[in-house]
Symmetry: C2
Subunit: 301 residues, 2 copies
Amino acid sequence: MSAPDWIAVDWGTSQLRVWLMSDAGAVLTSLTSPKGMGKLTPPEYEPTLLDLVGTALPEGRVTPVVICGMAGARQGWQEAPYAKTPCEPPSALTATKVATKDPRLSVHILPGVSQDKPADVMRGEETQIKGFLASEPKFDGVICLPGTHCKWVHISANEIVSFRTFMTGEVFAALSEHTVIKHSMGEGWNAEIFEEAVSRAISTPATALGDLFSLRAETLLHGLDPASVRARLSGLLIGAELAASKPYWLGQDVVILGENKLAEAYLSALQSQGAMARLAPSGPTTLAGLASAYLSLKDTK
Amino acid sequence: MSAPDWIAVDWGTSQLRVWLMSDAGAVLTSLTSPKGMGKLTPPEYEPTLLDLVGTALPEGRVTPVVICGMAGARQGWQEAPYAKTPCEPPSALTATKVATKDPRLSVHILPGVSQDKPADVMRGEETQIKGFLASEPKFDGVICLPGTHCKWVHISANEIVSFRTFMTGEVFAALSEHTVIKHSMGEGWNAEIFEEAVSRAISTPATALGDLFSLRAETLLHGLDPASVRARLSGLLIGAELAASKPYWLGQDVVILGENKLAEAYLSALQSQGAMARLAPSGPTTLAGLASAYLSLKDTK
């Protein structure tokens, strides 16, 4: 294969994704590995990366590597201090340069973003945002990134003005797997039950925690089916999130970054509340963000 | 030891408690075992009980055994169908008689209580309530039973009129042990942080779910200590519960059944809201309830 001009890396907690790139923006090769931050000690990062890309690195020149995600956490490869809101999504100019044993590598870890009050942090999402803004540079509004830790991010004049994280995905998993609800829960979905639960939790947010045990009791007494339990739990939690995140989405132009079922669930929940929400156009926003971050590095070469 | 006139049993999910009793109300022996419902198949119940009390059972006569709790669940020894609200806390007259191989045993499993709408169930708490009402027969108000599944029970004219279950204890455990909060959480307590979080969650219940990730972020950015994380998580969840259970406690005479730290946390949270709450006078209310349930059996001998 032809040698890459640079390498893009999304190094998350549970997964590592690598793209070998040409300066023209073409993806020469893409690779994934389960060696996420959660499984590595600091000295293991360089060998892990070389295992994947070592043979592709040309001798006699230095190949830049731009990394986003948890590799920059305190317990990662090397801490990349947070940029503070309000700020632009970080470029490679503010990245932390990591010393490597292999002279063919020049490793740059992008900072995450932190907010003082309310205290909040992100690592990785800022690069997805950068990727989205590369395609819609004039965007002014709110970006929602559903997932384990859903982020709501207020964007204005190309800056991350403020943001808020909700642990909705992780709470859903913890309740589904580690409480009595697990005996009532199964696969499948019921869109009507989901929407009902969203509305109920938005209008009376205290409801969400109060209704959890009903999921179990309705199974025991009225035979509520496992798919409905899943949809209602999801609706109660997302509804409670929407109640708390209302200042972010009410009257705003909301873009949801994500293409999976979860993104669609957020979309239908927001639309049912009359919010102006849309899914972002398709495409790997993390890679676009890494490419945009790399540009600044290239410009200063 | 002298032979018991009857045997009281609290057979929960994770624990089995047995009291050998005299008709005069004296506890001759009390025993506990980790062989809760969660660890047993139906044929294992009788041998488990005989292991504990077999040697104490006199030959040539039948010793009544009165059982409350999860032994009466569908997956227990034998299902004891629920009594439906509104109803008095069940006595042994409505118990399910279980056939035994050992002729010295006469086993009665007390029913739990169910409510159609909102769907809810209890197994074991109705017996604690019966025990409390034996000491305060004219009580009219609300009983709060904190724990893994906290119950709020409206009592009037000696009947359980309605009730509501909150999974607050189990949600606390699931979030502390199975989400990113576990990295921030430790032992200890901070009463001021607890009360602040309770007030915040009661006044804006959507806050509780929204503030979860802040627990982690405040540790990372501002060094929030592990004891404060514990107190704040507890305060957010109990506050959200109090927001949802307000119709139960507002303007009511509230008695909290329980003597541990958790009961005291509920007491201080309720009192901070101006509620008329008190801890129940000390004493093993489950045993008192089983004794009260046994009385009706004895009267009809």
